[in-house]
């Protein structure tokens, strides 16, 4: 079967540090794949390899059958993989609406001359982008803040803005890197509802990294557990909860009592 994303034998070394070692990963269409693991187990590095921020030391990344290993991140984004960041990377001095419109950058078809002379083609495209931005802000619940500066919003709102911005390019896959980090459980649940809605309403495939176990178990359809750069386990949330190895990683080995 053809998978949407396929990562084969990915190794990522930083000098002597083996951040990711021999990882295999596949993602089907409209699937929510969760990646969990302790801090420093290589989850974010894997995502960064996938989106082209790092070029892997060895291995291949296939997207829709096409080899995208080591491509620049803007090329990969244009192909239809968009992402959010663990540490917010919003455009702070731009308005919320502009942020979302910037997310649509790879859909821009107007040429320099079109823009310079404000041709009909460019103007209709701008209207379309504005409409799309309105719709997305409505979707994430930020439409009342449309003209605020992104930097002046609260942390949770900025996280939501990143989701809207990632969706603006109408991607096929969206990667969420700890979208609920630093949120209380109510906010985290709202965020997870949002992510499920992204999959259901928009038919996107999703890779989700999260530390919040409860949220993860309720959201993901399949979970990969990473430990020290390796894949420790893979399966449905139910299987993972019962997996002895996973329990070891998270709770430590039972030491024989003296």
């Amino acid at each position: 079967m053809e998978h949407l994303i396929q990562m084969e034998q990915i190794c990522m070394y930083f000098g002597g540090v083996h951040a990711v070692e021999n990882m295999n990963l596949h993602l089907a269409e409209k699937e929510i794949l969760g990646i969990i693991g302790p801090n420093g187990s290589g989850k974010s590095t894997l995502i960064n390899v996938l989106t082209g921020i790092y070029a892997p030391t060895s291995g291949h990344v296939l997207f829709g059958g096409e080899d995208i290993t080591g491509r620049q991140s803007y090329e990969i984004a244009a192909k239809g993989i968009s992402r959010t960041f663990q540490n917010l990377r919003i455009f702070r001095a731009m308005t919320v609406c502009e942020n979302v419109m910037t997310g649509r950058h790879c859909k821009v078809r107007a040429k320099f001359v079109d823009i310079l002379l404000r041709t009909a083609k460019y103007r209709s495209q701008e209207r379309e982008a504005l409409k799309k931005a309105d719709e997305l802000l409505e979707f994430v619940g930020l439409s009342h803040m449309k003209n605020e500066f992104a930097g002046s919003m609260s942390y949770g709102q900025q996280k939501r803005l990143e989701v809207a911005r990632a969706l603006a390019s109408e991607p096929k896959v969206c990667l969420f890197d700890e979208p609920a980090a630093g949120m209380n459980s109510a906010e985290a649940n709202e965020m997870m509802d949002l992510i499920r809605a992204v999959q259901k309403d928009r038919g996107l495939a999703i890779i989700l990294i999260e530390h919040n176990m409860e949220a993860m178990m309720n959201t993901a359809e399949r979970i990969i557990v990473m430990d020290a750069g390796h894949k420790a386990a893979e399966g449905t949330p139910k299987e993972i909860q019962r997996n002895q190895k996973v329990i070891q990683i998270y709770l430590g080995e039972e030491e024989p009592c003296c």
Partner: protein, 294 residues
């Protein structure tokens, strides 16, 4: 190739470089805390040099005038920090640049009103003796003394920053201002201290340089800022040894360029070297690459 000529130029370059270095160290410290391109630095140290001259004319011996002038200049630096930089510290980081230029213009005007706009002859710090080494190889004692003062300043500075409480606090502030303030380090005390040191060392460098060339001119402020900036970036941000070595490299290169190539292109060659070094090592010679967390 004439080795004696080369050695003389090298020693000349080393002493010019150590004067650049003293001006650059203060600049580099301020830069690595606030990431502020401090355009007032050059005018500040020139002002301090004028103050030292005024004190000398008042009757003090020049070394004493130099130290007193340096302290006064450091205090002015503290004042500028309080009035000009602190209110806009949280604004976009190039905004304080305008404030710095404004302060520089005020300092320049005060200097101009008091001491005139033209070049002034500067007294020499010590009598120059020619030390003969061999038949036709000689060294000026002035060069040696300047080099020694430069190294002494940096040694003292190293002691201060590594072995005193304030120095250690300064190191923390240089790494992360916000976290240090949370750890109870009084950043509003540390940052003015850094300005004080910057003004102090800059003025000593300025007095040495003016007495070496025996002229001073208020228009030299911007030139001084550029040299300090170049030296500190050349060495790498956040390491004041880097700034020191950057200054020395700049001085040596310029002296050798003036000796062997066209002296009209002296400054340009210095800048070309900087461009080349930055292209090869974009983070400066001794700077560390900042790890970006994604």
């Amino acid at each position: 190739m004439d080795w004696y000529y080369f050695c003389r130029q090298l020693i000349n370059g080393l002493s010019v470089g150590s004067m650049y270095a003293m001006i650059a160290v203060g600049y580099s410290m301020v830069y690595s805390i606030l990431y502020l391109i401090n355009f007032a630095h050059g005018d500040l140290y020139i002002f301090g040099t004028f103050l030292a001259l005024a004190l000398f004319n008042f009757g003090l011996p020049l070394p004493a005038a130099m130290i007193l002038g340096a302290i006064l200049c450091g205090l002015i630096g503290v004042g500028i920090e309080r009035v000009v930089y602190r209110p806009v510290r949280t604004a976009n980081r190039i905004v304080p640049m305008v404030g710095a230029l404004g302060a520089a213009m005020i300092l320049r005007t005060i200097a101009q009103v008091n001491w005139g706009a033209s070049q002034i002859v500067y007294p020499s710090l010590m009598k120059n003796r020619v030390i003969k080494l061999g038949a036709d190889f000689q060294i000026n004692s002035q060069n040696i003394v300047i080099l020694a003062i430069g190294i002494g300043c940096v040694a003292g500075f190293t002691f201060l920053i590594n072995c005193t409480k304030i120095g250690k606090a300064t190191k923390c502030v240089m790494q992360d201002t916000h976290t240090s303030s949370l750890m109870g380090i009084p950043i509003n005390f540390i940052i003015p201290m850094v300005y004080l040191f910057g003004g102090f060392l800059g003025t000593i460098g300025g007095v040495l340089m003016s007495s070496y060339y025996s002229v001073i001119n208020i228009e030299m402020g911007l030139w001084g800022t550029c040299k300090a900036w170049a030296a500190s970036q050349l060495g790498g941000v956040g390491s004041f040894y880097g700034a020191f070595l950057g200054g020395i490299i700049l001085g040596v290169t310029e002296s050798l360029a003036a000796a062997y190539l066209d002296s009209a292109y002296k400054d340009a060659i210095g800048y070309i070297i900087i461009v080349v070094i930055l292209l090869v090592k974009p983070e400066g010679l001794f700077g560390k690459k900042k790890a970006v967390k994604v």
